[in-house]
Symmetry: C2
DNA sequence: TATAAAGAGGACTAAAATGGTCCTATATGG
DNA sequence: CCATATAGGACCATTTTAGTCCTCTTTATA
């Protein structure tokens, strides 16, 4: 399925929420209510995003979380990596090289390049793109010939 | 991690093996030996690929598996879909619309478009690309501006 | 300075997905 | 008729994931 984990999914939704009101700190409970997800889960997600450097936290009363960079400087890659670790389609995508099948495999290098292409694509999708809540009339069928990787972000703009 | 399952990984390796010698039928045991994976697992994988329409099977003695289409007509998407089901980054990527958070989410549509972009990218990678066992000197850093989705396949060619 | 509100960090459990094996049935060639 | 294959499931073990909870620290403010 090549699917994101649920937590990553939550993370994106939460980050988008924060991005839509970036000038004040948001607490876990506030976000939990807004996103209709249980508090502990949201809390956990926020911690991970914070540890990943995407959010700044302030403790104590009147504490909460704020984006550590502008929404257009936070990418989908960043969010995914913060929750799931480095993006790669195969175990050997990040060159740890401990796969003993490498010789019989003959496919590793190619998957690595595909992974790289996907990373590049996701680097082009920013939180700013994700946050604009386009109700999405119809899924835009991207004409193959004209789509470039950086325009993956463009494709998210409303029109 | 956005990772393929192990079985999908196996599937790719196995398909590549077959693609390199497309004119004869390959049995599960032969492929298992060649790929150094246990027979039952390879068998299972082959069954899935067959049920997914990527391989034709012949039973009985002298039976085995053959590609059902030419390697350049089988895509990475096909292989992934055969093992893992439809490609999509989120549960709601294939418009079943049973997510009750849709209203608070505001991100679904955008993930769908990203999923679509990835699908398109993977559609551009064929088994023919994957099968060429390029030992891969250095990972090719694709210059963002120049990479188009269909050229993801191109990027796999050796040079 | 006491208190309440918040996050940090980690332990823990339950549930689900995954990987892997095995068994029986069916088809096919010699 | 027998040996060799795949078909199709059932099944179990392991791992991953999701989700909860507890204790500690920080901070504002009454």
């Amino acid at each position: 399925m090549l699917k994101l984990s649920k937590l990553t999914d939550y993370a994106a939704v939460i980050m988008a929420q924060i991005a839509r009101d970036p000038d004040q700190a948001h607490t876990a409970s506030e976000l939990a209510a807004r996103v209709k997800l249980p508090h502990p889960t949201v809390g956990k997600t926020l911690k991970m995003l914070s540890k990943g450097g995407l959010l700044e936290s302030r403790r104590g009363s009147h504490g909460g979380y704020v984006l550590s960079r502008s929404p257009s400087d936070i990418t989908a890659s960043d969010i995914i990596a913060a929750i799931e670790g480095p993006i790669g389609m195969t175990e050997c995508s990040h060159a740890d090289g401990d796969c003993e099948l490498l010789d019989t495999c003959g496919v590793a290098g190619n998957w690595q390049r595909v992974s790289q292409a996907i990373r590049t694509l996701l680097d082009g999708v920013t939180l700013a793109h994700l946050a604009q809540s386009s109700p999405l009339k119809l899924p835009v069928q991207l004409p193959i010939q004209s789509v470039t990787l950086p325009s993956a972000g463009e494709a998210l703009r409303e029109h």
